[in-house]
Amino acid sequence: MARYVGARLLQAVPVLFLVSVLVFSLIHLTPGDPALELLGPNAVPEQVAALRTDLGLDRPLPVQYVVWMGHVLRGDLGRSYLNRFPVAKLLRRSWPVTLQLTMGALVLALGLAAPLALGAVRYRRTWADQVVVAGLVVAYATPTFWIAILLVFLLSVRLGWIPPSGYVPPWEAPAQALRLLIMPSFALGLGVAAVLARFLRATVLEELAREYVRTARAKGLAERGVLYRHAVRNALIPVVTVLGLQFGTFMGGAVLTEAIFGLPGIGRLLWNAVQARDYAVVQGTILVTTGVFVLINLLTDLCYGLLDPRIRYQ
């Protein structure tokens, strides 16, 4: 197991390095001079030159990379071109919002997927199963942002149950925070629920066709026991991987969801920065999001190794 973890950690290092190089070059590929961007259009050339030296922009690129990486590792991601705010501070403020959104979506996705998949398995080869499967295919094809708009129309405009957008921190007003989180979580979670439910249904059916299930049934184990104690348990292993892989979908979907619901999360931060060409914020946001994505993939693989002992020996 230790060797597997070690090997997998080592694999992540070059990827993280290349990601950081790509993100670093983002600022240098962009048209325009970062120093000029920071100072604004009214800067005199002397000011620009001074800031260039100050920022180290006159040094060779590899040196700049090492210096930048040093700052990054110490938690310094530079300052926004727009309002001079430290990027790290902006990120710290936005992460909790995105985290709440993704957690809400995850809970909803699991909460929807598990009963749907197991219900479909229970009533396999009946019309109920067919309806669930068809519904999941449609749900998977429906874009997050359209689901969001439909939800706002139904729950806010028509029924007036939930305000159409807004955010309050849960430590200030827990009930209101939860209420405001329902629509975004649903919009973001539905697509993932569809992927999960289809996958879970397929793997459970696959497990049910195996020999050990026949043995369990032959022993006289009730169908419920066969399903939950055996088939579902074994089907959960691949589900962990699918869930881990969906994190990328979550991050992308978070941008769209936060845009509609006015949530001040990472996605909205990135969106605003891209529109304002605030490359310092774009760089910091992408670096951190991708870093987290790589780590989640790593954790997924490790979980997979823990759940299925056979994987260690590969």
Binding site: P14, V15, L16, L18, V19, L22, L26, L29, T30, V137, V138, Y140, A141, T142, P143, T144, F145, W146, I149, L150, V152, F153, S156, V157, P164, F247, G248, T249, M251, G252, G253, V255, L256, A259, I260, L270, W271, A273, V274, Q275, R277, Y279, V282, I286, T289, T290, F293, V294, N297
Partner: protein
């Protein structure tokens, strides 16, 4: 190799394939024939008819500037389809060439390609596309490049895997023994035998590309106004849910139907071809 007409017929015989082909066919036809079937110019402003309800003159209603939504939805389909198909073609062409080279030559070249694709895959797709667009400035052309960029690694890895399996087969050895050049071996003997998984991936990628383009346009980073696009229409409609709830409905239905149609074709194709090929 399968014959093309035979493949379509086999897809149409599966329920999923039939529905997928039907949906996609209707939407593609509507987009291609948009200039003929649109009742209005998609850019024409009808003064005094802003946010009009659906009526015989404007079957899907009008937007906040008085433009006919049916015409805009039809023309918007052209943008979606063109961006998605060109970006998937681009991604598959680049990805297949890179994957062929990596799988065939191996060694350092292969290692470099694999690390690079790992790196691109490390970025969440929408985030990577946003980064590319932010570098190049928002437009439907740049959205196309961004969507293609996101797709390249998948095609490269898929092709590389298939090449690694084919490279050791006797027929490749035979070609080489007969004195065939590397280029001939790669393109004339190996490539045709790796195309099945690539074709499946092309159909899988199409639905994803349509969604990604719509997402970028929704964020204002894809197709730019006044050109119609489903994503941008949906974004605009969110501000008028009180006055004009129908505004976003039709772009949403068309977008979902196209993605659904493409996904169903992809699934049916996967089923049909995997039974035939076995290992894929």
């Amino acid at each position: 190799m399968w014959s093309r007409s035979g493949l379509v017929a086999r897809l149409a015989r599966r329920p999923r394939g039939a529905v997928g082909l039907g949906l996609t066919g209707v939407l593609v036809a509507a987009a291609v024939l948009a200039p003929l079937v649109s009742p209005h110019d998609p850019l024409a402003l009808a003064k005094g008819f802003e946010l009009a309800r659906p009526s015989t003159a404007f079957p899907f209603g009008t937007d906040e500037l008085g433009r006919d939504l049916l015409s805009r939805v039809l023309y918007g389909g052209r943008v979606s389809l063109v961006v998605a198909s060109v970006s998937v073609l681009l991604a598959s062409a680049v990805g297949v060439i890179v994957g062929l080279a990596g799988g065939y030559f191996g060694g350092v070249w292969d290692a470099v390609i694999m690390r690079l694709t790992d790196t691109i895959l490390a970025f969440p797709a929408v985030i990577l596309a946003m980064a590319v667009v932010s570098l190049l400035s928002p437009s439907s052309f740049n959205a196309m490049l961004a969507v293609a960029m996101v797709g390249i690694p998948t095609f490269a890895r898929l092709t590389r895997g298939a090449v690694l399996a084919e490279r050791e087969r006797e027929y490749v050895e035979a070609a080489r023994a007969a004195g065939a050049s590397d280029l001939y071996t790669i393109f004339r003997t190996i490539l045709p035998n790796t195309l099945t998984p690539v074709l499946i991936q092309v159909t899988v990628s199409m639905g994803f590309a349509v969604l990604l383009e719509a997402g970028l346009s929704f964020l204002g980073l894809g197709t730019q106004p006044p050109q119609p696009s489903w994503g941008a229409m949906l974004f605009a409609s969110a501000s008028f849910l009180n006055q004009a709830p129908w505004y976003g409905f039709f772009p949403g239905v068309f977008l979902t139907a196209l993605v659904l149609g493409l996904n169903l074709i992809a699934e049916a194709l996967q089923e049909a071809l995997s039974r035939q090929v076995g290992e894929y």
